[in-house]
């Protein structure tokens, strides 16, 4: 039996035995960005496939709650220029203003398009899309609170993801579901030439040759112990890009959402505060007035998350251990909670046994979103640097959604802007790709030899790293394991690279990561099977997370200022003179270079960096 399994497993790393497919474009990831892109391309003449690690509706867009920003003005006066201002300010001026203008201008049309696709938005009495106030948004460039976040109750992500999947069914999109993208493949000239994937159910390896690859693999908050992310959010696309010798941008910026369920991490949407909820400390005080006197609980997420961490640190937390604060909705009308926030009410009931209609909910900041990612322009083209340090597009490679860094979120993302980001740049990248593909004949690209050595070596490592004898299941072994290394990685990232960081924590982190990396090289697996081998899959996911941990630690250690979500206790001020620039991290020698922030929008005047007051 063992020999047969060995023979079968060796097929994994033998390219001669891989099934081969040809496409004009392959999209990796079937969340909102990948599906919006796929829908656009399905309407073209091109041959396109979507590769998804899970069945598409299980992608993590499904968990987005609060809504999608667009200056529709259905509830109060609004326009895209105000939205743009808020996004630039929210980004702590690290966002690129050409891309931000592009996104905010596209917003109203693309949300109406989603509505036509079938998204079951909640409605105003006039029958229009319902909008609610969210943090960091204003009318008239900071003068008063705006009401800009379009919502389907508090299940907006679910509504959008299912609708986009449904429209893709209608369009006849080709899917490779439960297929894990292992690595990008280049040809011997260095041109991106496709992708190697693992069909999870059968355990077979497949080679997808493609003129273009669109990465839409989402975020990677599984790096942290407490997070709002799904198990699948392991940054696979980002790590593939690093292994291909390309840089990642601004990896020091991770958003900690202010209101995760304390100690557990599940998300309780900002919509809770948008609908009137308040944060209270151990003295029962609604403390946000001390941190953001004007907009209080609806300040930007980095501001609110820091405020909660400070309250707890200074001994004003709640509970026996004073280790959290309370999200209080008890003063709201029960009907508002049941109608507008049914999903998060369910979460509190399920995980805490508390009904937010009559009980405040313990919350603490939890890792939620990655502002950094694969550098792109606003057409979704992946960028690298020339030897002279100039940004230049990588032919045939696109990135969209959370895995991309356009950058529209800069150092801190506003709530409601990520669902917008995924559909706007999903569509924009597909349009650009369509135009590019139309200029070429696909067959020109399928002839050159491929460089498969790196991916074959990686697969061979994980098929050979299997223990000879399966130990008794009921005898816990002393050996190291994928689960143990992952747990240690998450704990150390949370401890040393959480809401607050210092030179000391970050240099310790770099040492610990080296150690964890060695453990990962040495660890052996117990599962030799082909079908649905989760252990092998998790090993490769952990490799991806490890790569991103290094990117984060080195980028964060170098940035000696505090900006947006990156709070250095030893450098508490923002320093525009030295640091108004994007970090670019390369895997080779952990090298860092920098590139300027775009302060020149497309049609309006740029917003000059100012002190950020809420």
């Amino acid at each position: 039996m063992t020999t047969q399994t060995d023979n079968e497993s060796s097929r994994l790393s033998d390219p001669g035995q891989w099934d081969l497919y040809h496409f004009d474009a392959v999209i990796v990831g079937a969340g909102g960005a990948g599906l919006r892109s796929a829908l656009q391309l399905a309407q073209s003449e091109q041959k396109v496939a979507v590769v998804s690690k899970v069945f598409p509706t299980r992608s993590h867009t499904v968990a987005a709650q609060g809504g999608i920003n667009a200056a529709l003005g259905n509830v109060s006066d609004d326009n895209w220029h105000w939205h743009m201002y808020d996004t630039v300010k929210g980004s702590d001026y690290l966002g690129d203003q050409d891309a931000i203008e592009f996104m905010c201008r596209e917003a109203t049309e693309i949300v109406r398009e989603l509505e036509h696709f079938g998204v079951p938005f909640s409605r105003t009495d006039a029958g229009k899309i319902y909008q609610r106030p969210f943090g960091g948004q204003s009318q008239d460039f900071g003068a008063s609170q705006a009401t800009r976040t379009c919502a389907a109750a508090d299940r907006t992500g679910h509504a959008i993801l299912h609708t986009l999947y449904q429209q893709n069914l209608r369009a006849g999109t080709t899917f490779f579901n439960e297929a894990f993208a292992i690595d990008l493949v280049k040809d011997t000239t260095g041109q991106i030439a496709g992708l190697v994937i693992l069909d999870i159910a059968s355990g077979e390896t497949r080679l997808l040759r493609a003129r273009s690859v669109v990465l839409a693999t989402g975020g990677a908050c599984q790096l942290f112990e407490t997070n709002t992310n799904a198990k699948i959010n392991t940054g696979d696309g980002l790590s593939m890009v690093l292994r291909a010798g390309l840089p990642l941008q601004d990896m020091e910026f991770w958003q900690f959402h202010p209101t995760g369920v304390a100690g557990k991490g599940m998300l309780l949407s900002e919509a809770a505060r948008g609908e009137g909820g308040l944060l209270r400390n151990g003295d029962g005080k609604a403390f946000m007035v001390d941190y953001a006197p004007n907009v209080k609980d609806l300040a930007s997420r980095d501001v609110v998350a820091r405020a909660i961490a400070v309250e707890v640190k200074e001994g004003r937390g709640c509970g026996l251990k004073k280790d959290h604060v309370l999200l209080d909705l008890t003063h709201l009308d029960e009907e508002v909670i049941k109608k507008r926030l049914p999903g998060i009410r369910d979460i509190a009931l399920t995980f805490l046994g508390l009904d937010m209609c009559d009980s405040p909910i313990p919350v603490y900041p939890t890792a939620h979103y990655m502002m950094g990612g694969i550098p792109t322009n606003f057409h979704g083209q992946v960028l690298t640097q020339t030897a002279a340090g100039e940004p230049t597009p990588v032919d045939g490679l696109y990135a969209i959604g959370e895995c991309a860094c356009v950058s529209v979120h800069g150092a801190n993302r506003l709530g409601g802007n990520s669902l917008l980001d995924i559909v706007v740049f999903g569509r924009a990248a597909a349009r650009h790709l369509q135009a590019t593909l139309a200029e070429h004949k696909a067959s020109d690209f399928f002839d050159p030899e491929l460089e498969l050595t790196p991916v074959v070596q990686r697969l061979a490592h994980w098929t050979q790293a299997v223990q000879a004898e399966k130990p008794d299941a009921n005898e816990p072994s002393d050996d190291d394991s994928i689960a143990a290394i992952r747990r240690d990685l998450q704990a150390v990232m949370q401890r040393d690279c959480g809401v607050f960081r210092t030179e000391q924590t970050l240099s310790e982190l770099c040492d610990t990561l080296n150690n964890l990396q060695q453990r990962l090289h040495r660890v052996t697996l117990q599962d030799a099977g082909l079908a649905f081998n989760l252990e092998r899959l998790e090993a490769m996911e952990l490799e991806n997370l490890m790569t991103l941990a290094f990117a984060t630690a080195h980028s964060a250690r170098a940035r000696t200022e505090s900006r947006g979500a990156h709070s250095r206790m030893d450098y508490p001020e923002r320093n525009d003179q030295a640091w108004l620039k994007h970090s670019l991290y390369f895997r080779q020698d952990h090298a860092l270079t920098y590139k300027p922030v775009n302060l020149t929008p497309l049609t309006v005047d740029g917003f000059e960096p100012k002190a950020r007051v809420y």
Partner: protein, 238 residues
């Protein structure tokens, strides 16, 4: 605490078997979900295989049959379960490995009901300067069906679906069908009802209501199917 779990690895096992696992009582905290317990068991045996992702009951990955009931492991408290906890794959569909089933037939039935909004004629362009208006009352009719997460707990607990998974749409697909039939923006209501009016597709439903009893999101596919049936009747009288 004891767990008895269905194991099957097609490469090496001639047939499925039940394997006993054990967790220390101290490890089983009051707020622990079954998914948390299964993750601890996977540390004992990394070959134990099941799907999971969001950990909060919204992605629909981790449906499984626990003490005879289809549930999502991530929102089921271990302490509410009687030990030994017997865990099997959801019934009626082929097993790929351990608790992982092949859901293709389930997805095909979903696709078969044209689960997408059709607010315009096929070649009509859509007016992106305006949204389609829908009153709060019209929108409220979608509540209770748009929230489905396609976990399959309903269909795999339905005897009619067990018998005819290739011909009977099953509760999840029919719930989706109802969602588009009642959407005030959809202009194909009549066509949809005509297509559904079939002895197998819809009328294999025998009102057993296992679907409603097993829905982890508290939805009511059974009621939705009855509503479809009465809309068909009404259409005939019209």
């Amino acid at each position: 605490m004891q767990f008895s779990i269905y194991r099957y690895q097609p490469q090496t096992d001639a047939e499925p078997f039940m394997q006993t696992f054990e967790l220390d009582e101290a490890q089983v905290t009051d707020d622990m979900m079954l998914l948390g317990a299964l993750e601890l068991l996977r540390e004992q045996d990394p070959t134990l295989t099941f799907r999971s992702s969001c950990k909060e009951g919204v992605c629909g990955s981790d449906g499984m049959n626990v003490n005879g009931q289809n549930v999502l492991s991530c929102i089921t408290r271990v302490r509410t379960l009687k030990a030994p906890v017997v865990i099997r794959p959801m019934p009626g569909l082929p097993v790929i490995r351990d608790l992982v089933i092949d859901m293709d037939l389930f997805y095909q039935q979903y696709e078969a009901v044209d689960p997408y909004l059709q607010p315009t004629q096929p070649n009509q362009t859509i007016d992106l300067d305006h949204e389609l208006l829908q009153s709060p009352e019209e929108r409220e009719r979608l509540d209770g069906s748009y929230e489905c997460i396609l976990c399959g707990c309903c269909a795999t607990s339905c005897p009619s679906f067990w018998w005819n998974p290739d011909q009977f749409h099953g509760p999840a697909a029919l719930l989706a069908a109802r969602r588009f039939v009642v959407d005030s923006r959809d202009i194909t209501t009549r066509d949809r009802l005509e297509k559904l009016d079939d002895v197998y597709k819809t009328f294999r439903c025998r009102n057993i209501q296992n679907c409603t009893a097993s829905c982890p999101k508290g939805l009511n596919p059974s009621q939705a199917i009855n509503e479809l049936k009465s809309l068909m009747l009404k259409k005939q009288v019209d």
